[in-house]
Symmetry: C2
Subunit: 161 residues, 2 copies
Amino acid sequence: METPDTLPDEEFLRLDRQICFSLHAAARAFNGVYREALKELGLTYPQYLVMLVLWEHGELPVKGIGERLRLDSGTLSPLLKRLEAAGYVERRRSAEDERSVTARVTDAGAELRTAALGVPRRIAAATGLDVADIADLRERLGALAARLDGIDPGELRPACG
Amino acid sequence: METPDTLPDEEFLRLDRQICFSLHAAARAFNGVYREALKELGLTYPQYLVMLVLWEHGELPVKGIGERLRLDSGTLSPLLKRLEAAGYVERRRSAEDERSVTARVTDAGAELRTAALGVPRRIAAATGLDVADIADLRERLGALAARLDGIDPGELRPACG
DNA sequence: CACGATTCAGTTGTGCACAACTCAATCGCG
DNA sequence: CGCGATTGAGTTGTGCACAACTGAATCGTG
């Protein structure tokens, strides 16, 4: 048993409820605040995330968006279709590789960026958190996510230690 | 202008992409790890959260579960129906208030708890994070969620400062 | 060149989150 | 008591997340 037995299983279960709930609830609360702020733009929170990376890069293949946002085509395909229907994004098959589809920001999408500029500032003001705090939290969450994504599924099986 | 203009809007947008993504990705990565660990129990992550609060309280009205997990009936009703179909939970109308429905852990649900005891320990071992770290992160996320939930929607409207 | 393996986007099916709604039970005030 | 307002669970519809799959394009190796 390499796991230090400083806590009984019962205690682990209680702590687990707390951390699971906190992360889950914080993510949904964040989502809710953005949902409200993004209403005027007609974007959902995940659509906003996609637009953020597209605004940074101008155009990206679906795969590239997926790598940056940790999302697969099953999520991105319909989402991009909706962004295209809204007129913010254009999709076209790549000429070099017919398997690949490139998403590009349209003029309307670029205009949307201007309107979106005020969103994070308003949210930062409403939360009252300062930039350093946010940046620190971001780093810890990023490290946590990286570690979680790096876990071998076998480690979670009952038999393994 | 109470917001200090230490950063241009452009910078805010870039930082926003980072924090939004981090929280979003961390929550999904967490979800994924639990999805794997909970496979053997036949539970999804949100179902596990519901079982955790039910294991603590034995039985709760739907409203009580919703308050503890920040979920509404639209999410809980079908979820509890699935837990009932799996045999882990029983639902019955309250005698005192016919509007209310109480969810109660069945014998099979109680057995499931025993099987679930190992889950958080395995995950803690796999992540390699120590309890103090987790507890600290939990507190910060809890505080963030509380602040976000306390925001007046009006604060997020374009016109307001 | 040929052909099996891989890669990429998209589809299908399941479940969660949430808004908007229905409907019955309960509450509260006149 | 009577009746409008509120409360509680449930339903419906939309969108996201993800597993499992399809099908076409490309790659690699013989």
